[in-house]
């Protein structure tokens, strides 16, 4: 596998311009002759599809839900960053670039991140023009807030529904192209396979979720915008249908998968409260501005929080990190919460939670002030847990939130398979080992609105593609392969469910294995054990899973089974990736790599690279490395003491 990032030459600030000039173009009159497939309609997918169609390409768009408007980008709350510097507080493109690359713990490519910061401003203009109702100041200008510990106010927002509003903007643009006839929209489709012809991506095989039919779609380029794989942990803040299948199918066809173990774990989520639980809900990080995190000093203290005297409370973040206290970064907060719970000091019925207490803030600022600040969050919390944070402390616990890893892409967002592009969360490109708050929306839209079109034009302009149709052998083979796989999934289902297990049972088992061994803090022993345990779960799945119904109808169990089967395979490279990265960086603590004070220790000498995994057929996956060099910034160690 050759990893040529094709980063353009020249000074950092000129790379993107140089690149756009060097890229080949497609004559406007010729564009309608080309077909692009876009899989996924989140921020990246919808914006890419709309932009390509506006430029004249024929676009086929696929989504798993009943409408493109429902992709999980819709759930993003906080906001979107841009280097507009409207607040005159010293922000700049370079500062946004620097913050992003530093936030990612120096595990991302400089040129990509700089480009992201460059196009961030255009995104805001674009969205405003689309009628996205961003928050405004009384004078009518756009409002900004500081988000996720940033020292400048560069986050644009639309209440707590920024993702929704940006997505509806992109969905509108996509809808306009559907109306114009340049986009063919396929809803309720699951992508099952990428079809390669002569080593190039030339289409996909998809399954119609309503009829169960396998369909072939032919194109000149295939763009995956299929999001992250957080659901490998079963419980995450991701939507239920979020999955790794599309990316994993691409990997199996030869696309490199980069940094699969880079997963962001958000510290302030509502804790798990039962094994029936299907999903974790994120509470805004802003709560830590006024809430104090604590656990009882003694293990197994089952008293009500109000009955635990001050002297028997351990405000562990404040004690351990005096200068940052409760405002330490996400990964530090998450890791410490898990550590306290592992010590048996967790609270709540499961012992997997810590308190976030507003009592001091309430007595300092008054009930009214605190309620005004956090009232809507408190209500949301109360709706779910039936407990009022104004009266008793909130309980929180970390949850899987975002995956920085993804398909490896070059500067043009093309994977190692020619003609196959990956955009948004499903690629690995911009966030390194940790993502800053309000940067996911920025990246999705940057890729879709402003980067992918020139990349596609360059690919089409430099490659001569033959005419093919869906009757060509590779398409037939792919369809047959997908049908076979479904038949294998259903093979245990004759003779009823007795003595068999359900898809969810296996998924939960996988999730526990991953959470326990490949979560926030990792060590070689546990990872090794997980690597040995994993094939057993896989075998149990293939030998014993019971899936009711058949394939020619709506069969939601079958849909889930297919996804879990891919998660089971995918988990292997996640664990392997975690195992080979013997350093702590970004979101993860590698227990063997700590400073004397027990803090994360990055190892730039040995791990300043992107780990890229190549499918090894029946053998083990192969690891390749793309070295990261820092010409324009100097990697520094984080410290929050």
């Amino acid at each position: 596998m050759e990893l040529n990032a094709r980063v353009p030459a020249g000074p950092l600030a000129e790379k993107w311009d140089n690149h756009r000039f060097a890229n080949k173009l497609v004559n406007p009159a010729n564009r309608r002759k080309y077909r692009a497939i876009v899989v996924g309609t989140g921020l990246a997918g919808a914006s890419a599809a709309a932009t390509l169609a506006e430029q004249g390409y024929q676009v086929q768009v696929f989504c798993i839900q009943d409408s493109p408007r429902r992709a999980h980008s819709i759930a993003a709350q906080g906001g979107i960053n841009a280097a507009k510097s409207y607040q005159n507080d010293g922000d700049s493109v370079f500062r946004l670039f620097y913050d992003t690359i530093k936030g990612g713990d120096f595990r991302a490519r400089e040129a990509n991140v700089y480009r992201l910061a460059q196009v961030s401003n255009e995104i805001i203009d674009q969205c405003v023009a689309q009628g996205v109702p961003f928050a405004r100041e009384y004078g009518g200008t756009l409002a900004n807030r500081s988000f996720g510990g940033a020292q400048v106010s560069r986050t644009f927002y639309a209440r707590g529904q920024t993702g929704q509003q940006l997505l509806l903007g992109a969905y509108g643009a996509l809808s306009r192209q559907i109306k114009a006839g340049r986009v063919a929209m396929f809803t309720r489709r699951e992508m099952m396979d990428v079809v390669l012809v002569d080593g190039r991506a030339r289409g996909i095989t998809s399954r119609n979720i309503i009829t169960g039919e396998m369909e072939s779609h032919v194109a000149d380029v295939v763009i995956l915008a299929t999001g992250g794989y957080g659901n490998v942990y079963f419980l995450s803040t991701n939507a239920m249908a979020s999955n790794v299948t599309a990316a994993w199918r691409a990997y199996r066809c030869g696309a490199g998968f980069a940094n699969p173990s880079f997963v962001q774990i958000h510290p302030t989520c509502i804790p798990v409260h039962g094994d029936y639980q299907s999903k974790l809900t994120l509470m805004s990080e802003s709560l830590r501005n006024d809430g104090r995190v604590w656990v009882p000093k003694n293990q197994g203290d089952l008293r009500k929080p109000a009955d635990i005297p001050e002297a028997e409370r351990d405000y562990y973040l404040e004690n351990k990190y005096p200068s940052f206290g409760n405002l330490v970064p996400r990964d530090v907060a998450s890791r410490n919460a898990k550590e306290q719970c592992d010590l048996g000091k967790g609270v709540g019925s499961t012992g997997l939670a810590v308190y976030l207490d507003f009592a001091d803030a309430i007595s300092r600022d008054g009930r009214e002030t605190i309620f005004k600040k956090y009232g809507n969050l408190f209500q949301m919390y109360e709706k779910i847990t039936d407990s009022n944070p104004m009266v008793e402390p909130m309980m929180i616990y970390p949850a899987v939130h975002y995956t920085m890893g993804g398909l490896w892409v070059d500067y043009d967002l093309m994977t190692t398979i020619p003609g196959l592009f990956a955009i948004g969360e499903c690629n690995f490109s911009d966030h390194g080992a940790n993502r800053l708050g309000a940067s996911a929306l920025m990246q999705g839209l940057a890729d879709g609105y402003f980067i992918i079109a020139t990349a596609v034009a360059n690919y089409l302009g430099t490659n001569k593609l033959e005419q093919i149709n869906e009757h060509a052998a590779p398409f037939l083979d792919s369809r047959r392969g997908c049908e076979d796989r479904i038949a294998r999934l259903l093979k245990n289902s004759g003779g009823g469910p007795a003595g068999k297990c359900t898809v969810d049972e296996i998924h939960k088992e996988l999730g526990r294995l991953m959470w326990d061994n490949c979560g926030m803090a990792r060590n070689a022993t546990d990872l090794q054990a997980a690597l040995e345990e994993l094939p057993k779960i896989g075998k149990k799945f293939w030998d014993h899973v019971y899936i009711p119904g058949n394939t020619r109808e709506i069969n939601q169990s079958l849909e889930r089974a297919g996804r879990v089967a891919d998660f089971l395979e995918f988990a292997e490279i996640m664990i392997r990736d975690a195992l080979t990265r013997e350093e702590s960086c970004g979101c993860h603590l590698r227990e063997e790599s700590q400073t004397e004070e027990g803090e994360a220790k990055r190892d730039d000498a040995n791990y300043s690279h992107v780990s890229v995994w190549e499918h090894g057929g029946d053998g083990a996956p192969k690891l390749h490395k793309e070295p990261l060099s820092f010409e324009f910034v100097t990697p520094s160690q984080r410290s929050y003491k």
């Binding site: 932009t51 009628g131 109702p133 405004r136 209440r159 239920m240 079109a453 019971y546 119904g549 709506i554």
Partner: protein, 252 residues
């Protein structure tokens, strides 16, 4: 505090679009009151699966009340008895042990049932496709601050834009009208200078599309507003009426 309840469920089962459906009765014991309604259905489906029966098909995705995918009529009310929540945010603590819940899909002439509680709401997408956007291409847009927008105006637009397209308004309208849905998008864009440019064409096109999809006529019964999980006001319908009237008188 969490406790557990026992329920009888009567759920609409319909194998596919063309089949006849009927209510099937299930009993479900030891349901934790901390569960969401959809988690309760998950538990039912696990149970049905283990009994070798066909699980209930229902749409759901984000499970935090924003994607608009879930929804059903619970005891005659869209998204159940709680105000301003979607089905995924409705928790079982709002029910009592021994309750019988009748669960039916969102119904409208424009929403064909695909299976059980799972329906086809693509008619709503087609309404948006007919004009629910600002016709700008990517790139070349003016600076975001070039047109000031009064904060209040932006807030009103945001109120309307909060629509999640779940279809509860249609499902609970006595006439199966999609006025609240359509008016929310038209209002959002009519309130913003960017959207006003093609406001008239938009109102005409979207109303025409809405009518052609087979939605009923609005008779101002206000049920839509009462069940909307995002609290979208029928003031938006009033605004749509104004927009439509001026559009018809000057452009139509």
């Amino acid at each position: 505090m969490s406790s557990s309840i026992n329920l009888t469920l009567k759920i609409w089962r319909q194998p596919h679009s063309d089949a006849l459906g009927s209510l099937e009765t299930y009993t479900l014991d030891h349901i934790s009151t901390d569960m969401s309604f959809l988690e309760m259905l998950d538990v039912l489906n696990e149970k049905l699966t283990k009994e070798g029966k066909d699980p209930v098909a229902f749409d759901h995705d984000c499970r935090e009340g924003i994607c608009g995918m879930c929804g059903a009529i619970v005891d005659g009310v869209a998204h159940g008895p709680e105000k301003e929540v979607t089905l995924c945010q409705l928790h079982m603590r709002h029910f009592k042990s021994g309750d019988t819940l009748v669960i039916e899909p969102f119904r409208s002439r424009a929403f064909p049932i695909k299976k059980d509680l799972l329906i086809d709401r693509s008619a709503l997408d087609r309404i948006i496709q007919s004009g629910g956007y600002v016709s700008v291409n990517t790139g070349g847009t003016p600076d975001g601050n070039s047109i000031p927008i009064p904060a209040k105006q932006a807030e009103l637009a945001m109120d309307a834009a909060a629509c999640i397209g779940c279809g509860a308004c249609v499902a609970s309208c006595p006439n199966g009208a999609a006025m609240l849905f359509t008016s929310a998008k038209i209002s959002q864009l009519a309130l913003l200078p960017q959207g006003q440019v093609e406001g008239k064409e938009r109102a005409l096109a979207m109303v025409a599309q809405m009518d052609s999809e087979g939605f009923g006529n609005c008779t101002n019964a206000r049920e839509c507003e009462a069940v909307c999980p995002k609290g979208i006001s029928i003031r938006n319908i009033a605004r749509l009426n104004r927009e439509y009237l001026t559009a018809v008188l000057s452009e139509g």
